[in-house]
């Protein structure tokens, strides 16, 4: 009983941090209708600055901590003003969510460059000695955590409910168009909500810092826990966020204590998936009804770049010839390996493009299927000496089975909740990859996976693998192009832009979304298997949530709904760090920053830019297009 009480106190302490972050989610969501995933990043930046000021530079804590919070809020306001606020005007809410995922990656990247990858420890504010209440010992930092969370909650409630500023925030939440007609500066309110969320996150970050070890990517955990807590509690409601946070803290602490620390996240995620099935809007229903999302309708869908047929064929031939000669010309194994990796990731990216670019279904957990495919085929080929081809097929089978189960959840969801469910799925696979030691080798990875081979012929070198991957990519690309340029692709695009109108024309939206999902899962699983065969090794972080976010970045940077765009993104983000080794430390930052920049300034991606350049080089696109369609019309 005593132990139980002790664990519950621990749970409440952790939970109140989750609650604080969840509150930030809820605040931004209510004001803007979008999710801001960058908060965890700010939490860790605040903690790191606090460490630098308070420990490395020896400032007194009473000065270091507030300075760290203030500095972080300053950074947050700058980032918010230049990315989040303009993005809200240009992008759909699902894309804003991915943009903030990019912000999170970018902030992590900065932290990595500034503070390195080693862990830091912050001393507690009021000494190490815990307070004792009879037999129960409570660390003093717990009081700091509980106290500051309570202050945050009260202050936020007061601001929103009792002040004129709060009235403006609430007006934006209910109807931004009307609010702006009433003279409320909506972008400023948006920025204010972003800044407040950053403030809450920064406070949570510095307060929790002494109870945990700090690393550049710890922020991701804060974001995820806060997001999960907000979703469980009900993202549109402040009390929901608080209840969700405390609940999540208690459940994870109890699960860690009584079941296994390896599965405590898994249990939290299963609870989340259950909530998404039975109460998609969370345990606490918001008093304010689900707001009419006027913003999403106004924003135009970015038009995908399209290469005129007169250019496409010569360029395709040129690319084919060039690619075939690469292994002859390029002798550097490092670069060749980079190309192979990019080619393998391109398989997943083509599938992801069908799912996200064409069908408009957000997926933040695509690497989860790479993991299922990779681990299944790796395990089978190590333990049962199954031929790689069969192992790949088995991996795809297992992946499709998991996808079917997941689709029970995802087919009912859209936008934000879909993003959340796929993220949760990816994280669930992460924790299984770490937890199922016997199958996956746990955190240290699965070693001894054989190289890819067909009928006894082994493709062990990067050069040999280059041809295998190249051939696979070409086949998949040609097949998917065939489907995406005709009825199948049109049906997906129609569903993406207007589900009801698509259904009214007899397009079975459920079947098509499922088909797009299954295609993407098959390709991700195949690519995961090839990845494992190429490295002869697979570890959780190679196919973890970080990878999922990186895949999204690659797709957006390269250009959505083009199929080929993913290759540009994959090459850029894989080859740059390989070619310029000293830049490798900037990779995380670059992948986040490029994602954000592409969303804001290059909506058609690199591919779009290349296409436009090619068109300008050759001549007017309209003429080229007209002439091709006229010939095809004449062919009738």
């Amino acid at each position: 009983m005593l132990e139980f009480l002790q664990i519950c106190i621990g749970g409440l302490v952790v939970g109140s941090i989750y609650a604080a972050i969840a509150l930030g989610f809820s605040l931004v969501y209510r004001v803007t209708g979008a999710i801001n995933l960058s908060q965890g990043g700010f939490a860790i930046v605040a903690a790191m600055i606090g460490y630098t000021l308070g420990v490395a530079w020896g400032w007194p804590l009473w000065l270091a901590i507030p300075s760290a919070v203030a500095a972080t809020v300053g950074i947050g306001v700058a980032i918010g003003a230049f990315t989040f606020v303009p993005a809200l005007e240009r992008l759909s809410n699902a894309n804003v969510l991915m943009l903030t995922a990019g912000l999170l990656t970018m902030i992590e990247g900065v932290a990595l460059v500034v503070w390195g990858s080693q862990p830091y420890a912050m001393p507690p504010f009021s000494g190490e000695a815990p307070l004792e209440f009879g037999p129960i010992r409570v660390p003093t930092q717990a009081f700091w955590v509980l106290g500051s969370t309570a202050v945050c909650i009260t202050a936020l409630w007061w601001l929103v409910a009792k002040t004129k500023l709060g009235k403006g925030l609430r007006a934006c939440a209910e109807n931004p168009a009307a609010a702006s007609l009433m003279g409320i500066n909506v972008p400023r309110m948006t920025l204010l909500s972003f800044a407040l969320a950053t403030l809450i996150a920064a406070i949570a970050g510095v307060i929790v810092a002494p109870t945990t070890s700090l690393q550049f990517d710890t922020g991701r955990l804060f974001t995820i826990s806060g997001f999960v807590a907000a979703a469980i509690g009900g993202i549109a409601s402040f009390p929901g966020a608080i209840i969700g946070g405390l609940f999540l803290g208690l459940v994870t602490q109890l699960a860690t204590a009584y079941i296994s620390s390896l599965f405590s996240t898994a249990i939290a995620l299963l609870i989340l998936l259950a909530v998404l099935i039975w109460r998609p809007h969370g345990l606490v229903q918001a008093v304010v009804g689900k707001r009419q999302d006027t913003r999403d309708e106004v924003k135009a869908v970015a038009h995908a770049a399209k290469l005129p047929a007169s250019l496409a064929w010569p360029l395709a031939a040129l690319a084919l010839v060039t690619a075939a000669h690469i292994p002859v010309v390029v002798t550097d194994n490092g670069i060749l390996s980079g190309l192979v990796i990019a080619g393998i990731l391109f398989m997943t990216l083509m599938g992801l493009d069908v799912l996200m670019g064409y069908a408009g279904q957000v997926s933040l957990g695509q690497a989860g299927f790479m993991a299922i495919g990779g681990y299944t085929s790796g395990y089978l080929s190590i333990n049962y000496e199954l031929a790689p081809l069969l192992a790949i097929v088995a991996g795809i089978g297992v992946s499709l089975a998991c996808a079917l189960v997941l689709s029970v959840v995802t087919l009912r969801l859209r936008g934000l909740y879909l993003a959340l469910a796929t993220l949760a799925f990816g994280l669930l696979i992460d924790s299984c990859a770490v937890g199922f030691l016997d199958i996956t080798g746990g955190p240290s990875g699965l070693v001894g996976i054989p190289s890819f081979s067909v009928a006894g012929f082994e493709f062990a070198t990067p050069r040999a693998m280059f041809y295998v991957v190249f051939a696979l990519d070409a086949i998949i690309f040609v097949a998917l192009t065939g489907a995406m340029r005709s009825g199948f692709g049109r049906a997906l695009k129609a569903i993406r832009s207007d589900q009801m109108a698509a259904a009214a024309l007899g397009i079975n939206t459920v079947r098509y979304k499922l088909a797009a999902f299954m295609i993407s899962v098959t390709l991700a699983s195949l690519s995961g298997s090839m990845y494992a065969f190429f490295f002869n090794f697979l570890s959780p972080e190679m196919v973890g949530t970080g990878r999922s976010l990186e895949l999204v970045a690659m797709l957006i940077v390269g250009g959505e709904s083009t199929l080929l765009g993913g290759l540009f993104g994959a090459l850029l983000l894989t080859l740059l760090p390989t070619v310029f080794q000293p830049l490798a430390i900037y990779k995380t930052f670059a992948s986040g920053a490029l994602l954000v920049a592409s969303f804001l300034y290059l909506p058609q991606g690199l591919y779009g830019a290349v296409v436009q350049w090619a068109i300008r080089l050759v001549g007017s696109p309209r003429e080229a297009k007209e002439s091709t369609s006229e010939t095809s019309a004449r062919a009738l």
């Binding site: 135009a300 869908v301 970015a302 038009h303 995908a304 040609v478 097949a479 998917l480 065939g482 489907a483 005709s486 009825g487 199948f488 049109r490 049906a491 695009k493 129609a494 993406r496 832009s497 207007d498 009801m500 109108a501 698509a502 259904a503 009214a504 024309l505 007899g506 397009i507 079975n508 939206t509 088909a515 309209r622 297009k625 007209e626 369609s629 095809s632 019309a633 062919a635 009738l636």
Partner: protein, 271 residues
């Protein structure tokens, strides 16, 4: 009222395309649709008119199961539509358009029209992936038909224009021909002339007459009286969720109840 219903019930042909029987729907305590019964005859343009809030669009949504009805029956080509999904209903050939033009953003005009051909496509995604001759021929056929459709309404020069960049009138026409691409057995148009100027309305009238010539039955909800009187063979008048009159356009124009409902008792003939 009952006499009217009995009368229309008596006149149901065995071969009516759509029979709506005693359709009823309440929102909260308010009866939005009260015992609505009418038929759409083959080869005819049936127009449903009535003041704002009479429940015309609600009837559309009840017929296509976008809303669920409280009572009543809807028969399409003799089959009861109860419990069918909107997709299934569309798949049977009952194709509808929406009040606000719902062209697909991010797609060009021609692509928009081609989506309409989806219902009839025999090809599968798999055969497209293999670039089979059958699906490429099919694609060419759909493209050819879509081009003809654009030609029909004079939008051929804009086929590669993004649909959302077209003027409102063109978007409305695009939505109608997109529905027509699906070769509907019944075409339901929800206020196609809303937001159109006179020239565009004239083009729409021409299109509707062309559709009637093709023998496709049309059910149209419309505010524009001159359009209705021009193209409709049969007019159903709704007011406050109930049918107050039905008949040929010339009869409706003289019907005192209609004039009263429409013009608030003022003695104007609908022109």
């Amino acid at each position: 009222m009952t006499a009217l219903n009995a009368q229309s019930e008596a006149s149901i042909g065995e071969n009516s395309v759509l029979s709506v029987r005693h359709l009823t729907k309440s929102f909260g305590g308010l009866k939005a649709i009260d015992d609505v019964t009418f038929d759409v005859a083959p080869h005819q343009v049936t127009a449903m008119i009535g003041p704002n809030g009479a429940g015309k669009t609600t009837v559309f949504n009840l017929v296509t199961n976008i809303l669920s009805k409280d009572a009543g029956q809807v028969l399409f080509l003799g089959r009861d539509l109860a419990g069918m999904s909107p997709v299934k209903i569309a798949d049977m050939g009952l194709i509808r358009t929406f009040q606000s033009a719902r062209v697909f953003p991010g797609m060009t005009a021609i692509e928009n029209v081609m989506v309409g051909g989806h219902r009839l496509a025999s090809h599968s995604g798999a055969s497209e992936m293999l670039w089979l001759k059958a699906s490429r021929n099919e694609e060419r056929r759909v493209l050819g038909r879509a081009e003809q459709m654009l030609e029909l309404v004079g939008l051929a020069p804009f086929k590669h224009t993004h649909a959302t960049e077209l003027p409102m009138g063109a978007q409305k026409l695009l939505e109608v021909i997109r529905a027509l691409m699906a070769q509907p057995k019944l075409l339901c148009l929800d206020e196609p002339a809303a937001g159109l100027n006179d020239t565009e309305t004239q083009e729409l009238a021409n299109l509707l007459r062309a559709i009637r010539t093709l023998g496709i039955p049309v059910l149209i909800v419309e505010h524009n009286m001159s359009l209705v009187m021009n193209v409709a063979d049969h007019v159903v008048v709704m007011d406050s969720g109930a049918i107050i009159a039905a008949g040929a356009p010339s009869e409706i124009q003289k019907n005192s109840r209609v004039i009263e409902a429409y013009l608030g008792g003022e003695n104007h003939a609908a022109s």
